[in-house]
């Protein structure tokens, strides 16, 4: 997938330090360029997204009619577990990371991420971890306990297969990748901003990427500890979550949801950021209430750590705890709700261009309102008592994560595609994709609200006739097929855009305001020929709308200042064309391509296999080879850094 989507990137990186050019794959395997890594993230997450979508279609096909025998119950458990695990950890999260990887350094006027090699390591570990998880299907059975893997169902006495082992090891790998990636984003955004880019001039997508990264570094340790304890339970005979040995299964739920609730924001905040970038551009006016969106995202991030037990109302925490966690959950509705008004206020009175990115952004708002409202109902313990573990919850999460995150991410893909590949996605196909996805999505998931309130439990492989579930299950399944077709249209669109002869995409085809649009499409390896200088929140709109570009405190407003900084900043007096063609005397620090991050990621996966395998010979072979790969790559990596 990576190689095919990658085709459009022209061979223009003429870095004198290019390692070797004989083998095309080497450019990708050893790259430390945030743009290539971003594209690989997006390509891989799209591939996993297709796998997860296929699993969803299997689930929906099984549920098309009562007492259907399309999937064996055991396989059904594996498929719905892997659907959720794939979509969350291998689809939505890495796609946000991929878009962030590509866009954030450009947005802030940097040449790369702060740690380019660590960036490559994060990607490869995510990629190998995703393959590791999916190999479970052909290596003794996939995880089958649902994506939150409640103990003690995951414990060996109740689940002797390898499914939970794959799950807990795979998620540890993905967790390391996520934390490493988040540290990288934090440092990049805090340290690498172009001169003049204060926090209040930071593009909103960069804002939410920063907040998301903080959520990741504080939330992922909680699940990682839970996974480690579960690993000891399953592999070393402890009983942390096994009641027969004195363990406490509820501890799993606390540790899991302390991660699990912030995880929801880790998935939705980037999409909110994308929408906050797309709306102003296609409304041709600045975002309404910039600082509210920024600060409310911070507030959501903080509050997100205080509400985890709203997933545990039915475990008997007691009325006081339930009340407290319900109050916090309701509170989150306030900053979230006002954001909706920010977005509507941005559209209001704008001169709207209904191109595909704006369509997806509007779809995001519409669907997210529904998902937000059902979320508020679920924050109420009495309602939750009734709806928990029913299809109502399934409807809610899909309105937030599909109607929200996926729609937002598609808005971002259509928006930044010309920047990434130097060619547009087809507008007609894009509109067809949007409308089919919008109709299919609502057809699939809206009926689940009714199914849930009527009492249809989630995660049950079938239902009886005459319970009133037939019609809406049929509708949902048909809707899911529409969804499948809409995604296929996107895939076709992507391939067609790669096959079309190269077109000349201008630097700023959407007339956007942020720095990534001030360099070429696609950008050169070093992003900017001269370090941009930022005087306002909307650097590329300064000449056009000085009134609207509030935040401008510097006396001068001149769009040229962006790609060609003032003389006092860069010593080069490049002409209009000169800067893009190179020739600037500015020094760019770009690390060499290196193979060690891939090798280290590979070594970690081998060690995961070693923990998984029971036969001692296999165990030792994989452990030793994993350690050798690990030690050699760390040694080589350190040598490269300190050289």
């Amino acid at each position: 997938m990576a190689a095919q989507v990658a085709v459009p990137v022209p061979q223009q990186e003429a870095s004198p330090l290019e390692l070797r050019r004989e083998w095309y794959g080497w450019q990708w395997l050893a790259t430390v360029d945030h743009k290539k890594i971003g594209i690989m993230y997006i390509a891989a997450s799209l591939a996993f997204f297709l796998i997860g979508g296929f699993e969803a279609l299997l689930v929906r096909t099984q549920l098309i009619s009562p007492l259907n025998t399309f999937l064996h119950p055991d396989l059904y458990n594996q498929v719905f577990t892997m659907h959720a695990t794939t979509m969350i950890f291998l689809g939505v999260m890495p796609m946000s990371v991929g878009v962030g990887n590509y866009v954030v350094p450009l947005m802030i006027g940097a040449a790369d991420m702060a740690y380019p090699r660590l960036n490559a390591f994060s990607f490869w570990l995510f990629f190998f971890g995703g393959i590791f998880l999916n190999l479970s299907f052909v290596m003794g059975g996939a995880p089958n306990t649902g994506w939150f893997a409640y103990a003690p169902l995951t414990e060996r006495p109740f689940n002797p297969g390898t499914g939970p082992d794959f799950w807990l090891l795979g998620l540890q790998l993905l967790g390391i990748a996520s934390i490493a990636g988040a540290v990288n984003f934090i440092v990049t955004i805090l340290k690498m901003r172009a001169p003049g880019m204060t926090f209040m001039r930071l593009p909103l997508f960069t804002w939410v990427t920063l907040i998301t990264s903080f959520l990741i570094i504080f939330a992922f340790p909680s699940i990682t500890i839970a996974l480690i304890l579960l690993m000891f339970d399953r592999l070393a005979g402890t009983s942390f979550f096994l009641p027969s040995g004195g363990g406490d299964p509820l501890l799993w739920q606390h540790l899991f949801w302390f991660f699990g609730h912030p995880e929801v924001y880790i998935m939705i905040l980037p999409a909110m950021g994308i929408v906050s970038e797309v709306l102003p551009v296609f409304s041709r006016k600045p975002i309404f209430g910039y600082s509210f969106i920024a600060y409310s995202s911070v507030a959501i991030g903080f509050l997100g750590f205080t509400v985890w037990a709203h997933h545990m109302f039915v475990t008997g925490l007691g009325e006081i705890a339930n009340g407290a966690f319900a109050t916090g959950s309701f509170l989150i509705g306030v900053p979230t709700g006002v954001k909706i008004f920010n977005w509507i206020g941005t559209l209001w009175g704008g001169s709207l261009r209904f191109r595909t990115p704006l369509l997806f952004a509007c779809g995001f708002i519409a669907n997210f309102i529904i998902g937000g409202i059902s979320g508020i109902t679920l924050a109420s313990p009495p309602v939750d008592f009734q709806q928990t573990d029913t299809y109502y919850v399934v409807a809610h999460i899909h309105y937030v994560l599909f109607g929200g995150s996926i729609f937002g991410l598609f808005a971002g893909l259509y928006y930044w595609w010309p920047k990434m590949f130097g060619r547009f996605l087809n507008e007609g196909l894009g509109k067809a994709h949007f409308w089919l996805q919008m109709v299919g999505f609502n057809l699939t998931f809206f009926p689940m609200h009714w199914l849930g309130t009527e009492g249809m439990p989630r995660r049950i492989y079938t239902y009886f006739p005459n319970q009133g579930f037939e019609l809406w299950n049929l509708v949902a399944t048909l809707g899911s097929y529409l969804l499948g077709i809409s995604i296929l249209i996107f895939v076709v669109n992507a391939f067609l855009s790669a096959r079309r002869p190269a077109e000349v995409v201008p630097d700023n085809p959407w007339e956007a305001a942020t720095l990534e649009w001030s360099t070429t499409s696609p950008p050169p390896a070093h992003n900017f020929d001269a370090v941009p200088v930022v005087y306002s929140r909307y650097p590329l709109w300064e000449d056009r709308d000085p009134e609207g570009a509030h935040g401008a405190t510097a006396p001068r407003t001149n769009v040229d200042a962006v790609s060609h900084p003032a003389d006092d900043v860069a010593a080069t007096g490049e002409g209009e064309q000169g800067a893009h063609q190179g020739g600037a005397a500015h020094a760019f620090h770009l690390p060499n391509p290196t193979i060690f991050p891939v090798i280290l990621a590979f070594g970690l996966v081998l060690i995961a296999f070693a923990l998984l395998f029971a036969p001692p010979v296999l165990k030792i072979t994989f452990l030793v080879s994993g350690l050798v790969y690990g030690v050699v790559s760390v040694y080589g990596w350190v040598r490269q850094v300190s050289d």
Binding site: S15, P16, L17, A110, A111, D112, A114, Y115, I179, V183, I186, V187, L190, K191, M192, R193, A194, P195, G196, M197, T198, F199, I217, F218, A219, F220, P221, S222, I225, A226, I228, L229, F232, A236, G237, T238, S239, F240, G245, G246, G247, D248, L251, L255, H526, V531, G582, G583, A584, A585, H586, A587, F588, H589, L590, P591, N592, V638, V641, S642
Partner: protein, 203 residues
């Protein structure tokens, strides 16, 4: 043609709003240590969830844990923080040899701590406290073992710094590598103070 150079350094770091004084790698280490706080926080919280059961079980922690011995280990680890400070100080003043030897001393003290922990684990095993012996064994061994793993990685890191210092890889203008290793090392020491207080000292 643009001038392309390698590595991390000033040209990439152009933060306009504060944070100028903070090195890129140091900031990354701080972020990582923030994450580590939650790692240890979650583990220690888990220990406390099981604490009533642990105290009701058999053997009781204060019966089998050698508090005096562990106090000595904690002291050794604290001293190693001091030697780390001395190492960095020497490096920053271009006393390269002294810096290298203080780094080595820090690593040796860390190894001593690990040896002491290994001794304690074997002694506990002889008294029947193992990973699968019950709630106390698993909670104690996983928590202290997780910390011990951090010490182990820290020792390897310090030895790598020692090797680099012997080659003259650090000086008053370039000491950030040692400083970051020191940050990590101090963090691991502080965590042990917390674990020692919470697990060993609180009755």
């Amino acid at each position: 043609m643009a001038v392309v150079t390698r590595g991390h350094g000033e040209p990439l770091a152009q933060s306009p709003t504060g944070l100028e004084s903070l090195d890129v790698r140091k900031l990354g280490m701080w972020a990582f240590l923030g994450s580590e706080c939650v790692f240890f926080g979650a583990l220690i919280a888990s220990y406390f969830v099981y604490r009533p059961l642990i105290l009701a079980g058999d053997p009781k922690p204060h019966e089998v844990l050698g508090i005096n011995f562990t106090a000595l280990l904690a002291f050794i680890l604290l001293i190693s923080s001091l030697t780390m400070v001395l190492a960095l100080n020497a490096i920053q003043h271009d006393r390269r040899r002294a810096g290298a030897y203080w780094l080595l001393a820090t690593a040796v003290l860390g190894t001593t701590f690990l040896g002491g922990q290994a001794y304690e684990f074997t002694k506990l095993a002889q008294e029947g406290v193992t990973l699968s012996s019950g709630i106390f064994g698993q909670c104690f061994l996983v928590l202290t073992g997780f910390h011990g793993t951090h010490v182990f990685l820290g020792v390897i890191w310090l030895l790598a710094c020692f090797a680099r210092a012997m080659r003259g890889g650090f000086n008053s203008g370039n000491y950030i590598g040692a400083e970051i290793a020191g940050l990590y090392w101090h963090f691991v020491d502080i965590v042990w103070v917390a674990i020692f207080t919470l697990i060993y000292l609180i009755p």
